[in-house]
């Protein structure tokens, strides 16, 4: 028995992406969910399931109340920061495939720029197991996501000879894509590799332009059965693969204590499941949405997912390899570096648009798209296919 092809994404909806929404996070969640439900040709009364991130501040029942959903029969949350993104759709797909729900809305909404900013120094995780993890790190001033990623990036550079310019090529590609996406915060503002190199250090070896922006906004995704999706207005986007994963000795961003830290084993675990479930391989996708909170992990993801061999990503992305028109266009919407940081959920929406053929930066002849979630943490991924 396989989940592949049983569920579909029928609707997507988002608020504007900004630096100061001026609205409550709950309002952003309600607006994004309503937009997605409307896009699917449904009403809130059709919704019977909600899934969000453990990190989200908006309870499922609060969103239910705002939307006037009569009742829910499925609700769940997925943990580990941005690693949850595709996991919410995986949970929703499992629910509709098994009859636990008919229509599930996955959402993420926050004022991550004007409210609580993840990029600032972390204050720790209390006395539970997560607090203990943080206690081996925070006392040393090792307190920000950029620092946690930089530790793996340095080792990756040491092992494979990758350079800051190689990381910079990711930023240049993402900002180039965002430049032609009117919804992107950095619409009309591409950067050069020289500007990347000249940007200030955040945590060596990461420059400012290796780090994604911080954003306010909400994004929602409507999941239903493949069968029902065929009766709805949009071209169905089938969930051909949906997986979560962790690696050995997994920690929350601190998996430094065994094995090769120039790798992302959790993403490898997700990738192998996705390809198996979908019956596809790296050559079968026309574009990929790779989680780009920090540039170095885009390189390592290309390797973990089989688009190139270990240490070869720097060559893969030279000469526009991940740009529109390249061998694998990555994040045509501009990613989190260019469009907005909505914890990976806006990337899923772009995957849907690419399969529908409605993206502003449409890649030609898309039938399959790979989408990934936050890396360095327990993560998740999707393969989306034209229905």
């Amino acid at each position: 028995m396989s989940l592949s092809g049983k569920a579909a994404i029928a609707g997507i909806g988002a608020t504007e992406f900004s630096k100061d929404s001026g609205r409550s996070e709950l309002r952003l969640a309600a607006e994004a969910c309503l937009a997605a439900i409307t896009d699917a040709g449904l009403t809130p009364a059709d919704v019977d399931g909600l899934v969000t991130f453990t990190a989200d501040a908006n309870a499922e029942i609060a969103v239910q109340r705002e939307l006037g959903i009569p009742s829910l029969r499925f609700f769940s949350r997925v943990d580990y920061g941005g690693g949850a993104a595709c996991g919410t759709v995986a949970h929703a797909a499992m629910a509709v495939a098994t009859g636990q729900a008919d229509v599930v809305v996955c959402y993420r909404a926050f004022n991550e720029r004007s409210g609580h900013r993840f990029g600032q120094a972390n204050k720790g995780g209390g006395a539970g197991s997560l607090g203990m993890e943080f206690s081996w790190h925070l006392p040393y001033g090792f307190a920000t996501p950029a620092a946690w990623v930089a530790m793996q990036a340095r080792r990756y550079m040491h092992e494979y000879g990758a350079t800051s310019e190689d990381f910079g090529r990711v930023a240049v590609a993402m900002r180039g894509h965002a430049a032609t996406n009117p919804k992107a915060w950095f619409h009309g503002r591409p950067i050069t590799l020289e500007e990347h190199q000249a940007s200030r250090w955040i945590v060596e070896p990461l420059h400012l332009l290796d780090c994604c922006q911080e954003s306010d906004g909400g994004q929602a995704i409507v999941v239903t059965t493949a069968e029902r999706a065929r009766d709805l207005p949009n071209r169905p986007v089938l969930i051909a693969g949906a997986a979560q994963g962790t690696g050995p000795g997994q920690m929350m961003m601190f998996s430094y204590y065994s094995g090769d830290i120039a790798t992302l084993p959790a993403m490898g675990r997700v990738g192998e499941q996705l390809w198996r479930q979908a019956g596809l391989g790296p050559d079968d996708v026309q574009t990929a949405i790779l989680y780009d909170h920090f540039t170095p992990f885009v390189l390592i993801q290309l390797e973990e997912l089989g688009f190139c061999g270990r240490g070869e990503a720097k060559d893969f992305l030279k000469d526009g390899g991940i740009e529109l028109g390249g061998r694998l266009p990555v994040n045509p919407h501009g990613g989190q570096l260019g469009e907005a940081y909505i914890h990976g959920m806006n990337g899923i929406a772009e995957g849907v648009r690419q399969v529908r053929g409605t993206s502003v930066n449409q890649v030609p002849d898309v039938t399959n798209v790979l989408v990934t979630a936050g890396t360095g943490v327990p993560t998740s991924g999707l393969v989306l296919t034209a229905g």
């Binding site: 600032q120 209390g126 006392p139 001033g141 090792f142 080792r155 945590v203």
Partner: protein, 443 residues
């Protein structure tokens, strides 16, 4: 001023404020409230005792930094008007509700003698803004007070400047929470499974957990051996030698308790496990992958010790405490000190003596008043330059000096006549000051 960017203010309010300021400046010097007492030995003695000035230099003349004390109205006196009242009120009514004193400059024409009767005047200096500052958008408001003797000769003048600002919409403050004065703010949570490690650090040992049954080593530790599932845990003492497996150099954003740039490294120990720490005792640019390092134990404060890493050929870091102690004048800001000095300067504003009220107004505790700060600058200056005669003290005010903190004054001679003074507390600089001395012979 001071390079803060100018921003667009509310046009109508701005124009009204500027017109008001112009009228007030044109009005010139105005009589100020009378000085209730003649310059007298009792108040001088109270002041010198409260501020800890044991020089014995103030028998016939009053300390110059006391000048404002003579015109303070005292407890229960009718609130005296000030030339700045109207612009301050206008700003308050238009959302510029925050206030912080930024400058207090005193110039002394001569020292005043015990028995002299003084009178004072005030004049409005001006308004500058709107400026974007760390506190929020605001206007700087400046006024002057002068003191005259019985022959109408000026004896001293003071510039006073405040920033009236619009408190930022969210949170504000920006000071990291959880930091106590003198306490390193980044503290580990210690639990049943990790206590042995921190006990070892306190004893100068680097302990690595080992399974009491199968012997497998593990760091970070946990309650069950992932190899054989035994819950019998013990530890081995590590040699403290390893190599840098990877590292980062932190620049931004600010981390409480830390001064960037600093290095964080994953160190692979000889025993085969990895551990995270800072590399200290060398420049960040000298750190590289595979560099041999050895453990050192760094005292972060009175209680917390962290195992850290230093190049294997580097000397041990300087022991803490004694050597780290800066030279200068250290003043323990006990509640008694804060309150006694406030009263000795005839400043009865509750935030200087009433803890509950100070907290209700958003302060952490009662704090040292400005008349005392400038008095302490005088004390430090004359202890540093014995026999010098003060011409002026110009103070730029910084973070509050709260009760429970320690104020450390240090100084540097800029030239024969100039001393720059810094007064630091745990939150940062409480004040920076420039003191000038008169030419010629000491008094």
């Amino acid at each position: 001023m001071q390079g803060e960017p100018t921003v667009q203010g509310e046009p109508a309010v701005h124009d009204e404020l500027m017109a008001l300021a112009e009228r007030l400046v044109a009005a010139g010097e105005q009589p100020a409230p009378p000085c209730p007492d003649a310059v007298n030995a009792a108040m001088v003695r109270h002041w010198t005792q409260a501020l800890g000035d044991a020089s014995g230099a103030w028998e016939d003349v009053a300390p110059p930094a006391m000048i404002q004390v003579w015109s303070m109205p005292g407890l229960g006196a009718k609130k005296a008007g000030s030339v700045a009242d109207d612009p301050l009120r206008l700003l308050n009514e238009n959302g510029y509700t925050g206030v912080v004193a930024t400058n207090c400059d005193q110039t002394y024409d001569r020292y005043v003698k015990v028995g002299e009767r003084l009178r004072s005047t005030m004049r409005f200096g001006g308004v500058a803004g709107p400026k974007r500052t760390a506190m929020g958008e605001g206007y700087f408001v400046t006024w002057f007070q002068s003191w005259y003797d019985e022959d109408d000769r000026r004896v001293a003048e003071m510039l006073f400047r405040v920033l009236k600002f619009q408190p930022k919409r969210r949170g504000g403050g920006g000071r990291p929470s959880g930091a106590k004065p003198g306490k390193y703010p980044l503290r580990p949570t210690i639990g049943l499974d990790t206590r042995y490690f921190w006990d070892g650090v306190d004893d100068g040992e680097l302990r690595v957990q080992s399974c009491a049954d199968c012997g497998a080593l593990r760091h970070p530790p946990g309650p069950m051996c992932p190899e054989c599932h035994s819950t019998n845990r013990t530890y081995t003492k590590a040699s403290g030698r390893g190599v840098v497996h990877s590292f980062v150099v932190h620049h931004h954003p600010p981390v409480p308790g830390r001064t960037p740039p600093y290095v964080v490294a994953v160190v692979e120990l000889e025993e085969g496990v990895r551990i995270l720490g800072n590399v200290i005792g060398c420049e960040p640019s000298e750190v590289e992958v595979d560099m041999p390092v050895r453990v050192v134990f760094q005292h972060m404060d009175d209680e917390l010790v962290l195992p850290q890493w230093t190049p294997s050929d580097a000397p041990d870091p300087e022991p803490p405490a004694e050597e780290a102690e800066p030279d200068g004048l250290r003043i323990e800001l006990t509640p008694t000190f804060v309150i006694a000095t406030a009263l000795a300067t005839r400043d009865f504003t509750p935030v200087h003596h009433d803890t509950e009220l100070a907290r209700a107004q958003g302060s952490k505790d009662i704090f040292v008043n400005i008349l005392t700060s400038i008095g302490l600058v005088q004390r430090f200056a004359l202890e540093t330059v014995p026999g010098g005669e003060l011409e002026s003290i110009r103070v730029r005010l910084g973070v509050p000096a709260y009760a429970g903190d320690t104020l450390t004054l240090t100084g540097e001679r800029a030239d024969d006549r100039t001393l720059t003074v810094r007064g630091a507390v745990s939150l940062g600089d409480h004040l920076t000051a420039t003191v000038t001395f008169t030419e010629g012979e000491a008094r």
